[in-house]
Symmetry: C2
Subunit: 271 residues, 2 copies
């Protein structure tokens, strides 16, 4: 089996490391030659190939920044082999859904691995990146069952669990569980930077700000792509914070307690 990877960053590189074993040939493409070199040196790919060749692999993972996904999908669709299945790794689906609905290609499967790292690039790629994590797959009516099976098989091979979810629901959920946390981490580090006299940070700080230094270009593209859902999530956050602030300003023990009690109940239900 030949596996093609377009985009040799953190995710593309990790897919290569996770899938590279006897019987699978991994070919990768990235327009940036420095990225190709890092991916090759770290053993993420067996060989570099141009996009037209990568497009003819048995399966192609598209792991490029959000703003380039559609052009890459166009290119693969035109150059793919008759048996090629291709799947994206984009963390916001709205644009990809639009593209997929316009083409109804049975060989295309929408996907999104729920894994990552606050550092970017194949230098930080890991064969274990996807182990134990969820990989969301959003088939359309036009998606062939055989295509879905091929993608699911490789997701399992990487140690992840395939979770089926409607692409629009995906964008709403992800705004809350992934994008909003990045916004809040960004706010926290900015506030601390204005304030902090000495380093007095503890464990909760370290956890909440780990992703505060995430790649600005990647995350701007993600936020712009999912701006409507994230805007709603921010609005809900604002409302919750305003409620808590009202209780604090009025020195209302019971109101503050209700906030934390509700949080603990929620935490117990969802994790």
């Amino acid at each position: 089996m030949t596996v093609g990877i377009v985009g040799l960053g953190l995710i593309g590189g990790s897919i290569g490391l996770a899938l590279r074993e006897p019987g699978r040939r991994i070919v990768g493409y990235d327009p940036n030659s420095a990225s190709v070199k890092v991916a090759f040196d770290r053993g993420c790919i067996d060989a570099f190939a141009e996009l037209d060749e990568v497009s003819k692999a048995d399966i192609v993972f598209v792991a490029v920044p959000p703003r380039h996904v559609v052009e890459v999908l166009d290119s693969i669709r035109e150059q793919k082999g008759p048996e090629t299945v291709y799947t994206d790794c984009t963390s916001v689906k709205s644009e990809v859904v639009e593209w997929a609905l316009a083409h109804n290609d049975p060989q295309f499967v929408m996907g999104h691995p729920m894994a990552g790292h606050e550092r970017s690039g194949a230098a930080f790629a890991s064969a274990w990146m996807f182990r134990g994590s969820k990989w969301i797959v959003s088939p359309l009516n036009s998606t062939a069952v055989a295509s879905l099976k091929k993608v699911d098989g490789l997701i399992t091979a990487m140690g992840a669990t395939s979770v089926k979810m409607d692409a629009i629901v995906h964008d709403r959920e992800i705004a809350i569980v992934s994008h909003l946390p990045h916004a809040l981490a960004g706010v926290l580090v900015q506030l601390a930077d204005n304030h902090q006299e000495v380093d007095v940070t503890g464990g909760s700080w370290r956890d909440l700000t780990r992703v505060g230094g995430a790649d600005p270009v990647l995350w701007t593209q993600i936020f712009i792509a999912n701006r409507e859902e994230i805007s709603k999530a921010i609005e809900e956050t604002q409302a919750k914070l305003a409620e808590l602030k009202t209780h604090l300003d009025a020195n209302e023990y019971d109101g503050v307690w209700a906030f934390f009690a509700q949080a603990r109940n929620a935490k117990e239900r969802i994790s």
Copy 2:
């Protein structure tokens, strides 16, 4: 040396475990006999003693919930030995400062270990809790140098680093780096609980919500005690979120990018 501990919860229990070794006798008091039993069974204390006896130890750590600190300090001040040094572990200093300024006791030292855990109780205590972490110490003009030295010596013995900070500055800083993260984690889990269809959470979610299930009673007391500074921190958060939301609603790539770029710069400066 005899070490007294008042309040045998997570922090009190961990102090006992961290300091218990030949040459030190650890005596502990807690009004709740179930807490005493857990602390004793886990080896946090050599013996239980009533508050008047614990108050006569060479050094006394006060690790009780915020709303009980002042009454315990009153009681120790009345019953302490001539050489006793006593220190609190309270995460909000405003009330304690007021008490300390009213009494000007050279034997009292204000302190706050920057360590903890999202679970409470001596059942989760650990001898390693304070290793590598900061322990803020806020001496007043009235504090005796000998008292400060005794406290610093034991902080070092527990593997922590003593950091001197003005108590009022402490409350402002801690509102940002510890209390606000708990508020944001609480908001996140509540929003997700309203929304989530299936479990699609990734690493950033796990990190940002770890403290989302923190003890409501303890955290309500902390928030009420530091309500003015936390209210200001929430206000600043609201302003940052509103700014980000404006850029998203206007589909302004540059504004969103500036938010993440500022966050990354801040993150690099402070960690």
